[in-house]
């Protein structure tokens, strides 16, 4: 109820201002000599020309800052500078942005030259100086004043200007100053951005907040997020088109301290809220499972065929008595009725599908003999197929290794290593991208983040087996900022930082091969890169591109630990994508990186 009252009030205020400005523009044409006056506090500004309004923005001459607001104005051919006591504002003629202390701000209107005077948008300046821009009817002009006037002036402008007959009967004439604009110091909700993607992400750009609470509601389906400690005005609604999950995103003021965000949904679905380290909140909606069925082919092989918005991560659990294969689809919402039915196809006797937890959809196959899932495949039609292996999990593993590791027979896939060779060494294994950042995406829909994580986990396993202490920047599909990753390494007191990535070029599919980047002008990083590059190329046998010193990668900066980034192959190249997504190849790549680290350590330790 509170919301509606405030909404109505704001609407009325806006309508009144618009109507008033309209009347004003008729009574006082903008080019008339007796147009609006301008006051700064109680001082009237001597205007050479009348105030100009462009795209709904009042423009004021630069001289006003020098003469009335104590600024030092400097004009050079390139730009002009307004030096205030606490800040310097830089603008350019015809450019819709301003710079303040190195930061760039968007302007509604670019500064212009009007009748030989430079005019700038008053609203932006008022914001920066913490001033309110008020229309004062007594003086028939605008007044710039400090944002919280000590005594609130009361005035019934409607009755004075339009006569009583113009006052709408259902709205009592209110007495208030018309505030055209308040400084947006308290504008805590800066932007609502619909980011899309397979997980339908929404980003709330917030200056600050003290907390939040979410409610998933039905009839109509919607997700409500109450943001605490968020002042300022709500933003216009964001309409979302052609998205299976979100229809629109609205904001409104719930009470003095709370901003309410409502995401209108097509269907109720699970979600996750990720606070971003730089501020702001991201809402990530679940993958959606819309159909699932068991199918058998002629060779008496079975597979689960399903329709989902994207490939979810599947965790497998094997249960006995009765024998069951449990597949947990992570962060997936079941978009149909759950069911439990007898199927009696081959070894599968029952199939049960349900929403196990808000974020996990559970598929249970009751079987008469052991079965294990193989690699998830994406169909060109958009669906997915999960082939099922008739045998135990270890047999399925062996089968996979046999079918996919054939091209690398020379390399031992599960190496037996002397224990403790690397003891005393702490390695940070950094799987690139993750969570809401998929990295590059291959032609067949392989996400770089998944390839990076798989290789990193194998690498971590080999390093641990050899006695090294392994710290992962992420060991699941999670978003970790690239600025946070070096901090994790520093905090862990790590000796080496190994970032694992897959590459892409702009002209997709044109480049191939392995390269290793290292922190520029750091001989230790360079030597590590050279050794690792040699070993990875020897292992994966892709083209040897180069090792490359860079001083501009975020994960290399902000720490002094020797750091490299291995770009194993090009995911945008169709051939290399097929390799990168195969677990056999991922193991070989991890083995190559491991061999490089091991050789580097053994050859260079004191």
């Amino acid at each position: 109820m509170v919301m509606i009252t405030i909404g109505g009030k704001t609407m009325k205020r806006v309508a009144l201002i618009l109507f008033f400005l309209f009347i004003l523009s008729i009574l006082y044409p903008i080019n008339s000599e007796a147009a609006l006056k301008l006051f700064v506090g109680n001082d009237e500004v001597e205007l050479k020309n009348s105030l100009v309004m462009i795209n709904g923005n009042f423009m004021i001459p630069m001289d006003v800052f020098e003469d009335y607001l104590g600024a030092d104005v400097k004009i050079t051919p390139e730009h002009f500078e307004m030096v205030f006591a606490d800040q310097t504002i830089l603008m350019q003629l015809g450019v819709e942005s301003a710079q303040i202390d190195g930061k760039t701000y968007q302007l509604d209107v670019a500064p212009q030259l009007v009748e030989g005077e430079i005019v700038v948008p008053i609203r932006f300046i008022a914001n920066r100086l913490g001033l309110s821009l008020v229309f004062d009817q007594d003086i028939m002009g605008l007044r710039l004043e400090t944002s919280k006037p000590s005594a609130r002036r009361e005035r019934s402008f409607t009755s004075n200007l339009f006569g009583q007959q113009d006052v709408q009967p259902d709205q009592p004439a209110e007495t208030e100053t018309i505030v055209l604009h308040h400084p947006d110091e308290e504008q805590d909700l800066k932007e609502i951005i619909f980011m899309g993607g397979p997980r339908s992400r929404v980003f709330l750009d917030l200056k600050s907040y003290t907390g939040y609470q979410t409610h998933l509601l039905t009839e109509p389906d919607r997700l409500v997020i109450d943001l605490y400690g968020v002042g300022g005005d709500p933003l216009p609604p964001v309409e979302v088109r052609d998205n299976p999950v979100v229809r629109s995103i609205r904001s409104s003021r719930f009470d003095e301290y709370t901003m309410r965000i409502v995401c209108d949904l097509h269907d109720s679905t699970g979600y996750r809220v990720n606070p971003w380290p730089q501020g702001g909140l991201e809402i990530e909606f679940n993958f959606q499972l819309t159909a699932i069925e068991l199918e058998a082919n002629d060779d008496d092989q079975f597979a689960l065929r399903f329709q989902a918005s994207a490939a979810p991560v599947i965790e497998t659990i094997y249960l006995e008595d009765p024998l069951r294969l449990v597949l947990d689809l992570q962060e997936t919402t079941l978009m149909m009725r759950s069911f439990d039915r007898a199927v009696n196809q081959g070894p599968v006797s029952r199939l049960r599908v349900s929403q196990h937890t808000p974020s996990v959809t559970r598929v249970v196959l009751q079987v008469t003999e052991p079965m294990a899932p193989l690699q998830l495949e994406q169909l060109e039609s958009g669906g997915f197929v999960l082939p099922l292996f008739r045998g135990t999990a270890s047999q399925a593993h062996a089968y996979l290794a046999q079918t996919q590791g054939t091209q690398h027979e020379i390399i031992d896939l599960d190496p037996v290593l002397p224990d403790g060779e690397l003891s005393g060494l702490t390695v940070v294994v950094d799987a690139g991208h993750g969570g809401s950042d998929p990295g590059t995406i291959g032609h067949h829909g392989t996400f770089e983040k998944d390839v990076n994580l798989a290789i990193s986990l194998y690498l971590g396993e080999y390093l641990s087996q050899a006695g090294a202490r392994v710290i992962y920047t992420r060991d699941s599909d999670a978003y970790v900022s690239i600025f946070e990753r070096p901090a994790i390494a520093t905090q862990a007191g790590a000796d080496l930082f190994i970032s694992v990535h897959a590459n892409s070029s702009i002209n997709r599919g044109t480049a191939r091969g392995t390269e290793t980047l290292y922190r520029a002008k750091d001989p230790v990083s360079e030597l590590l890169a050279r050794t690792v590059q040699d070993e990875v190329v020897a292992a994966v046998t892709l083209a040897n591109r180069r090792i490359w010193g860079r001083d501009d990668l975020a994960v290399f900066n902000n720490s002094k630990i020797p750091a490299i980034m291995v770009e194993v192959g090009f995911l945008d190249h169709p051939d290399e994508e097929l390799l990168l997504r195969a677990p056999g190849f991922q193991k070989v790549a991890a083995q190559g990186i491991f061999n490089g680290i091991r050789r580097f350590y053994l050859e260079n330790k004191r």
Binding site: T104, S504, I506, A511
Partner: protein, 177 residues
């Protein structure tokens, strides 16, 4: 005084001729890629595109002083030579620029991030294709890329773009001359 100026101008023209000749010569020799020819006695500028393998930035020359608008427009049009690779992803709009001292701020639409294919190679080609082309425009020594008027942390998850960047000479195909 006038003869001093004349000599200075002559020396500058001669140097430019030598540099351009060396660049043209090298590409004729190495890769049969001949950058678009320009009259080097008149003002000209370079626009950088990626080599096919994404390891270098190769200049393409254009006649004129090369204002910021011209350079960005040429860069967004893409290379004239089929052997070179564009540095911009599709659908990117140039929203404007401003300059503060020797730092140029370029503002692009969100497509620069959302349509970017990713990869450290792709990201470096895009960012330094832009930076290397714009450093050299009047008074520009550093470039900061903004998206929808805002500072960005990174473009594709590798480069730190919170600070303005300088020209990367290591990437230049012509740096061997």
């Amino acid at each position: 005084m006038r003869w001093k100026r004349s000599i200075a101008i002559a020396v500058v023209v001669l140097l430019l001729l030598l540099v351009a000749r060396a660049v043209l010569h090298r590409h004729r020799e190495d890769s049969e890629i001949l950058p678009v020819s320009v009259d080097v006695t008149e003002p000209f500028y370079a626009v950088y595109f990626g080599s096919a393998d994404g390891t270098q930035l190769i200049p393409e020359f254009h006649q004129g002083v090369g204002t910021v608008e011209e350079r960005v427009a040429r860069l967004m049009e893409g290379p004239r030579l089929a052997e070179l690779s564009a540095v911009f992803p599709e659908d990117v709009e140039f929203l404007g620029y401003s300059q503060r001292d020797d730092v140029l701020f370029l503002n692009f639409s969100h497509h620069l991030v959302t349509r970017h294919p990713g990869g450290s190679t792709g990201e470096i080609m895009t960012v330094y294709g832009i930076v290397n082309t714009l450093v050299g425009a009047w008074g520009v020594r550093q470039v900061q890329i903004l998206v929808e008027g805002r500072q960005i942390l990174t473009l594709a998850g590798h480069l730190d773009l919170t600070e303005p960047l300088e020209k990367d000479y290591e990437l230049l195909g012509s740096s061997h001359i």
